[in-house]
Amino acid sequence: MLGLTKKDFTLFMVVLAMVALAPFILNPFPQGSSLAQMFNAGYPDLMQRFVIFGILVIGFNILFGLTGYLSFGHAAFLGVGSYSAVWMFKLLGMNVIPGILLSMVVAGIFALAIGYVSLRRSGIYFSILTLAFAQMSYNLAYSVLGNPTSNFNLTNGETGLQLLLTDPRVLGQSTTADGSLPVTNFFGIAMRDSYELRLGDWLFTFNAGYYLCGIIMLISFYISIRIFRSPFGMMLRAVKSNQQRMNYTGLNTKPYTLAAFVISGIYAGLAGGLLSSMDPLAGAERMHWTASGEIVIMAILGGVGTLIGPILGAGFNEYFKNILSKINDGVLHQWLGFLPDGVEDFLVTIIHPFVGKGWHLTLGLLFMVVIIFLPGGLVEGGKRLGRMIFGNPKRSTAEAEADAAEQRNTAAE
């Protein structure tokens, strides 16, 4: 179906169902309950982040998962995409489509230039070069190209690039009738429009922007499946496996890796464009190298080189970031209130550094644990769990790999 094998198609349909039903899935608790405050995630901005970062990591996985080239500078493309889209909203109009298209084009050109230089080296050198490029882009965006007093203020520096009432917007209006900024829209459907469905105590929000991002993520996901199963995808895996053999088989590795780099750069630009489309504000911090590191973390958490891993990793990271940062001492005391006071205070003191503003620490530890013990990420964890519960524990990884390979080597219908 759709040029996919049965298994891939099933996977795609599962993801499609998850995206479509996310407002339900992510809001399991009735509105206003304390559990809802903590664990519900069905808010438009959060759901948008799930799918947008999903796109970003899907793209990153095409590079890192297939070719093994670890880019530490992917946030640069995200940032470039964000700025491009905002400029489109400033100059052209508030329809998101031109902004998204431009963000992809600009990020693609950017990736071509950076990739051309960085891919002269492989391994650690490549990682460091991409890191340096990203940090240079950050510096450019933060100060060099963002001086509000100069005539060439591309990024507006520290404040970030934002819409102004004086922007031309040649195809739209500079200001709305009531003198405020116009909102981003998709041919008239405002991105922030939501339909709220009340079922008993439950409140479900269906946001236009989320569904636009969701559809784009599904398309991105579909394309990534096709790439994984294509001759091109196989060549990328061959690059990871043995570059020497590639060269002596008459294959030029350079354009393959460059193409993968550009494709994943375009994905990142698309994600940046979507971020700006949902909230037309672009800041340099999106390009900081810690942001690049977070992309790597999401990819690893999910499972590198797998199809579904990036989506899981992005969702997991965003969800837990959201929950952990909401837990403060008050919440902890409430949760542990049933314990004797001394124990309660002690536990709160112990847990305190790991939650609230300390969520970075928890994610950092989790990341290390995954790398050390579970290099395949959540996908491998799920498989191991499944094997423990249902399967034959003696089944070796080699067999599992052979299975995966057979799955790969089954022709599409």
Binding site: I124, L131, M136, N139, V144, G293, G358, G364, M368
Partner: protein
Amino acid sequence: MDQIILQFLNGLDKGSAYALIALGLTLIFGTLGVVNFAHGALFMIGAFCAVTLQRILTLSTIVEDPTKTDFLGNPAKISTPYVESWFGPEVGATLIDWSVPLAILFAIPIMVAIGFIMERGLIKHFYKRPHADQILVTFGLAIVLQEVIKAFYGANPIPTGAPEAFRGSFDFGVLIGFDPNAIIYPYWRMVYFAFAAVIIGAVFAFLQFTTFGMVVRAGMADRETVGLLGINIDRRFTIMFGIAAAVAGLAGVMYAPINSPNYHMGMDFLVLSFVVVVVGGMGSLPGAVLAGFLLGILEAFASMNEVKAIVPGIDQIIIYVVAIIIILARPRGLMGRRGVMEE
């Protein structure tokens, strides 16, 4: 002319920091074959060693002084650092004043211990894993270390002063025949440069003139062969890791007065130190030192107003631009050897 000398001097202290971090990175890379993304965190921990010692020394008892009252009429509370009550006010005050240099003694065992624990507890298990995994696990460790520091010391920079004697500036210009105040250079930066020179010299001397260093150098050149000679290279490499950690830590200790320690200073320096290592040539110790000073000085020159007037913002990106040009022209870096990291 005076401007040029001034910028040259300004570049020295930052260049010293780059050189020291890059030196440690290269030592670890050359001996263990691991790119240590947590190396910046070691620099940062070093700086916080200085903060910690200062805090320990200023730990105070609070006594009520019945002879004085505060504005509410209560007896005034006077806090006296323990060291002052133990060693007498003058010695105590001197100790507190000199807490940053003293922190060197304090930091060496701590940094070496951290280095040992890192290598034996974590990095050792990653020698046979792909390079990407090594990068990732040390990156994770860097995040964890900086977040731990943040949890203990907060997110704000902590000013940590140099000893009173070094706080002023030195009119360098007068010495070489320029007008007074033309070339003013803070004393502490001179101390930092001298300190860095001593450390770098010590590391090179250690590698050059001791048997231990000879084995390590041989191991850097060809690990397998040295292993075949029946020399326990792994233990030496662990010690080397401890030394590299100490070098980074000391660089951090002494940098505390120049740049108030904050939890992300390690990451900030790490990115540039990587660039330094790449420019110098992966695996080349002299290359790391040379490139460190070169880029530090270059950065200082680029931040001159005259230069910025021609190319605005060049100071922010000069290091990267130079690095890219060098990589394009000389992929192995300034002093890189063939066959390092070329699979």
